[in-house]
Every structure is written in structure tokens, then in C-alpha cells.
């Protein structure tokens, strides 16, 4: 852990060397999700509700997903860049070092410019938390924290699967974007609005709805049982198959030799 913090500080220092470029990147990231927010506002302004949720409630959902995703992307960027690591042979070096593989890949890159999205998520939270009409008792606060933290971990699991595929294909699999970028993009609205089939898929196969839709129902008092509060924790089970898949890929690893 201490080693990881050391790595983080090194990455921070190196990225701060190019301050102008760094801040432009943050602004770019901010703007990138800002247009999504603007689109959301246009739609909600026209229709007032969607799937039984109001603008403020949808914004709460938007902020949770955005924050979870940007946390995952900031720290797990190494897995996003994994195809590069495989194809330039860098991964061979990782294998011979006396540390865990996951740890080393995590430590290769911490992308602080992704925090642009995090800032925006925080701003939206400051509006949506009071405006959503939720009475913030301790259990609601805990639920919200669970949503963000478990969400980040589930997105991390998806990045792990993406990296796992690289062992078979060498280059990155664009289709995974539907689940990662798509999960973020479409997670701006509660996943239930996309219909039963997609909700079931996002519950049982790729459990994105477990940290978004179900605990949101608990927050908004639409469901009162403890199970809906704890679904994000259930979603963490998803990390097991992700990890196993990564190991499976690893056992098949052949160096590209360059």
C-alpha cells in the first residue's frame, strides 16, 4: 500500500510538469460529460419525467454513475492501456518483478486528468443531494457511499475483463466500450427505462444496475427493505469472475516478443 501511494505521488508530480496541458485536459473531460448533462437537461425539460423519475432524481443517478466511472478510470487506467503494454512487450517485465501483477498494472498509470469528470460529478451532487427530496438519514448516506464505491469497483471489474481479452486478441476489443463507456453514457438514466430485458441483463450478467437502479429505489423510498440498500455489495461478487477471466487469459499469455 505504501508503495502504491508512492507511485501515485510520482504520477501526480510527472503530470504536473505540463500544467497547461494538464488543465486543458481536465477542462476537456469536464466539457465532454457536460454535453451529456446538457442533453439530459433538454430531454427532461421537455418530458418532465422518465420511467417515473424526475429531473432531480435522474441527476442523482447521473452523478453516482459519473463519479464511480471516473474513479475507476483514474486509478485503473493501466488496464485501459493494457493492449499497448502487451503489444510493446512491456508486460514481460511485469512478469519477472516480485510483486503482484494486478498491483503493477494499476501502478503503471494514474490518470489525474480524468478527475475533470469527478469534479463535475461533485458539482451535480451538490445540487442533486438537497434537491432530490431525499431525507438524508444515516442509512441513506451509507447507501449513497456504497453506490459510488461499489460502482467504481464494478467498473474496475469491467476494465479487468477488457484487459483479459487482450491476452487473446492482442489489440483492445472495441466492443467492451458498450459496457464501459456505454454503461456510463446510458447510466445517466436509471437502467430500468431501457426495458425489462436490458434491466435483467444488467442485473444478472453485467451487474451495473445493482449499484445504480436498485439502491436508487431505496434512496427514493420506493423500496424500503434492507436488501435494496445492500445490492451494491452483492454486485461486488462480479469481481470474482472478472478476476478468474483475467487469470485465464494470463495462463494463455504468449509474449509478442518486441
Amino acid at each position: 500500500m505504501r508503495l502504491y501511494i508512492k507511485y501515485i505521488s510520482i504520477h501526480l508530480k510527472s503530470q504536473m510538469q505540463y500544467k497547461a496541458s494538464f488543465f486543458l485536459m481536465i477542462v476537456g473531460q469536464l466539457l465532454l460529460s457536460f454535453t451529456v448533462l446538457l442533453g439530459l437537461y433538454f430531454m427532461m425539460d421537455r418530458f418532465k419525467t422518465v420511467g417515473g423519475f424526475t429531473l432531480e432524481q435522474v441527476l442523482l443517478c447521473f452523478a453516482v454513475v459519473l463519479m464511480a466511472f471516473s474513479l475507476a478510470e483514474c486509478f485503473a487506467r493501466g488496464f485501459d492501456l493494457f493492449p499497448e503494454m502487451i503489444s510493446n512487450g512491456e508486460f514481460d517485465r511485469v512478469l519477472v518483478r516480485p510483486r503482484g501483477i494486478i498491483f503493477q498494472v494499476l501502478a503503471t498509470k494514474v490518470e489525474f486528468s480524468r478527475l475533470g469528470r469527478l469534479i463535475q460529478a461533485a458539482i451535480v451532487f451538490t445540487y442533486a443531494i438537497p434537491a432530490s427530496g431525499v431525507i438524508w438519514t444515516w442509512d441513506k448516506i451509507l447507501t449513497l457511499v456504497l453506490m459510488v464505491v461499489c460502482g467504481a469497483l464494478i467498473f474496475f471489474g469491467l476494465f479487468l475483463v477488457y484487459a483479459g481479452f487482450t491476452f487473446f486478441t492482442i489489440e483492445g476489443l472495441e466492443f467492451m466500450n458498450v459496457l464501459t463507456d456505454g454503461g456510463r453514457e446510458f447510466g445517466t438514466y436509471p437502467y430500468s427505462i431501457y426495458g425489462d430485458g436490458i434491466l435483467k441483463f444488467l442485473t444478472y450478467v453485467i451487474p451495473l444496475a445493482l449499484f445504480q437502479y436498485y439502491p436508487l429505489l431505496y434512496l427514493l423510498d420506493k423500496k424500503k427493505d434492507i436488501l435494496h440498500m445492500l445490492t451494491p455489495l452483492l454486485g461486488l461478487l462480479f469481481l470474482i469472475p472478472c478476476y478468474l477471466f483475467f487469470l485465464l487469459g494470463l495462463s494463455r499469455y504468449k509474449s509478442t516478443g518486441s
Binding site: S21, V27, G39, M43, N177, G182, I198
Partner: protein
Amino acid sequence: MTTYFSLLKMRFLNSLQYRAAALAGIATQFGFGFMFISQYLAFYRVNPLAFPMGIDQVVSYIWVQQAFLTLYMTWFFEGDIFSAIVSGQVAYDLARPMDLYGKWFCQCVATRLARAILRCFPVLILGLLLPKPYALTLPSDGLQFLLFVISSILTLGVVVAFSMFIYISTFYTLSPTGVRIISSVFADFMAGSIVPLPFFPDGFRQIAELLPFAAMQNMPLRIYSGNISGMEALYGIGFQLIWLVILVTGGKLWMKKALKRVVVQGG
């Protein structure tokens, strides 16, 4: 002219090599299209009367947009051009007896065209085969389809002419990432990539419809879906043509100016 044509052909053949990538791209675009349509269907269930265009028009808009993503989106850039400017390679290009603007323009058009041709048919065919609320509908008649094709070609021109400005700006900034992200995100939004222009609130929409971004994907997609037809479509094509001329002339002038003061980086 023959130089440009062979350049176009070369780039085109080069891009056709990446067939596996195209396959993955098709699956991705299909997934995104499906989800976007589900999203609009959810809004449609809330209040069909608040829809500024027919639901089947929106569905067609999304499928055609996904199928021709590489023609319409400003965020596809040629990495070659940026690295040529930053690394100083551009000096060789300047020594060649051909217009640099024309060369880059051709390169961008060819790459986009090749990618689009590789990717569009599976998405379109799947869209046509899907059951009702998700089904892609064909344009009402041959004329409408013809207008759509003309408008698409003009969009390609406008989008590439716009991206030329970003390439040229690299002569000044040398670090394209920031400008690139900000300008393309803004342009794509104003062109209707996230929400079609008819969904924009009044006032905002009227302004958006005058900007050059409205001469991008907005036009062909709305013509295909039948949201714009007849005289209005012809007027729209004229609007695209005007912006194309303005952007190309402006780009060429700026390029001339930029090249006068160009400092070639490194050896």
C-alpha cells in the same frame, strides 16, 4: 486531379485492411444504437405528444447515424497529420509539388469513406430486419434518398473542412489534445450527435440551426428520416454548400498564413 485521386485510392485501400477492427466496430455501433433507441422509447411512453418528430423518424435517425458514424463525427482525427506537424515531418510534405491543404483533405475523406463503407451495411441491414419499434424504415421515395446521399457527401466535406482548422491550429499550439477534445465535443453536440436538433429547446434551437454545425450530420439524418423534405431539404443542401465554401476558403487562407511563419520542429 489525378494526384488527388490516386492519393484517395491509396488511403482507401490502406483503411480496408483493418477488417477485424471494423467487425468489432459494427458490434459496438449496433449496441449503442439499440440502447439509444430504448432511451427514446422510454421518453415516448411518457408523452408521445411532446415528441417534435415521429418516433420512427428518431429510430431511423439513430440507425443511420450509427451506420455512418465515421462520416459524420468530428472526433475522428488523422493521427498522422498531428504527428507530422509536431515531429517536423511536415517539411517533406511542403517540399512536394502539391497543395498541402488538398493532400490532407483527401487523406481525411478517404479514411472516413473507407471506414464507413466497411461498417455501414451490417448495421443498416440489421436495423431493417429488427421488429417494429426498433425497425429502420426506408426513405419515403427515391428522390428523398437521392437528397440524403447528396447531403451526406456535403456533410463529409463540412466535417473534414472543420477538422482542417484543428490540424492547422496545431502549427501554433503544438499540443493538439486540449483543442481537439473541446472543439469536437462542442461541434458534435451542436450537430445533433447526442440529441437531435428538433429536441433542442426553442431559442437555443434557432441559433443552433444557423451555425456551421447544423450543416453536419443534422442535415442528412433529418432528410433520411423524412423530418425535412421537399423544398426544405433543397434549402438545407444549399445551406450546407454555403458553409462548405466558407470553411474551405477560410481554412486555405489560414493555412497559407500559418505556413508563412512555420518553424519546423527538430530534425
